[in-house]
Symmetry: C2
Subunit: 217 residues, 2 copies
């Protein structure tokens, strides 16, 4: 298996090309750290961008949803789609307004979905989606009934065309701007998990896999 996905022209990062990365290790790590993705489909030229949960296994991304959802129906029938995951790492404050930026790691995957009808693959994918959000959770939660399985469509997307775009580090100002007395640097941002809040009818002890969750896991 190649250590690179397919760097086609349409996934090549053209603006700030130095920020583009194409190796699997980088792309997979961003997909694994993201909690949710934004998926775009287009109907008669009109794009729709919707947030979804997902999981990655090898070069496959799994999504799920109601078979009645427009997004899922489009994906299941192989409509061209774009899946984007963005991790916001910080705000970059340069001395000039022009050089303000974000530190971020994003992945864009182009391709098309296919419906998963095999019962075993569907069950595995649903476990992966639950475990992607909270590792270890699938062993605890009640698995899907036949009725629930029927009410859930699972879509697989093979990661073929994909790229990452990453910005890290301090602002880069024009040489003459370094003399200005303007604060410049980075404000780091991270997604942080608070203490788990049991629902009213939950008398269970907080499980270890939840105590380990740090919101970026």
């Amino acid at each position: 298996m190649s250590s690179y996905y397919n760097k086609t022209r349409r996934v090549t990062v053209r603006r700030r090309a130095g920020r583009g990365k194409y190796d699997r290790a980088t792309i997979d790590a961003i997909l694994d750290e993201g909690k949710f993705a934004h998926v775009g489909i287009a109907t008669d030229g009109q794009p729709f961008v919707i947030p979804v949960l997902y999981a990655r296994s090898g070069d496959t991304i799994y999504l799920h949803g109601s078979p009645l959802s427009r997004l899922v129906k489009n994906l299941a029938t192989g409509a061209p789609m774009c899946l984007t995951v963005t991790l916001l790492d910080g705000l970059v404050l340069a001395r000039s307004a022009f050089h303000h930026s974000m530190n971020y790691r994003s992945v864009v995957v182009l391709g098309q979905g296919r419906e998963i009808s095999d019962r075993g693959e569907k069950l595995d994918a649903l476990r992966m989606i639950v475990d992607h959000v909270i590792p270890g959770r699938s062993d605890d939660a009640r698995g899907p009934s036949d009725k629930e399985l029927k009410a859930t469509e699972v879509v697989a997307i093979t990661i073929d065309e994909a790229s990452a775009k990453i910005r890290t580090g301090p602002p880069v100002d024009d040489a003459e701007d370094y003399e200005l007395s303007v604060w410049a640097g980075e404000v780091p941002l991270s997604l942080v998990a608070g203490a788990p809040v049991p629902d009213e009818r939950c008398g269970e002890r907080i499980p270890d896999y939840l105590l380990a969750a740090d919101g970026r896991g």
Copy 2:
């Protein structure tokens, strides 16, 4: 001015319709809290979804970027687009895998962009984008030069068709599942700002507007 945006059929929330909101106050608050958006455009039926900074003023959203960027060029020429902002508020862990969910607030805006060529409106929009990310920052940073203004395209999108979708609260399990000894509840998530990190050549005191930044402001 109506207190609702245009609830057309294509922005109406159909799945979990009770989660749909259409009033300006709700939609504007989500747009104002979000740090960045995912914008979708389509080229020959292929969607592309890209993260961007933005700001809202009244019923207008401003974006900026290089005039050479594919996204910005498409937006400036009025291509149909979708702008989505998603705030992830928590993971919802139900007793059944099926009822796992996220708590989130998202907004979808459909429409098209227009290029801002008026110098004054362009300068105002760029200040708003910087201040949206860090309120008060525009008064400190050096404003754009003529050359920088030329190298920046500003696109305005009138918020006309828009909807919000919001999930809050604990998991909702099937009645018989409440007997299971599975932990159930919410893991709250929030985007948190760390201490500002000055760049190597910055000798300035950390300004008050940065000390007030909490990453969600």
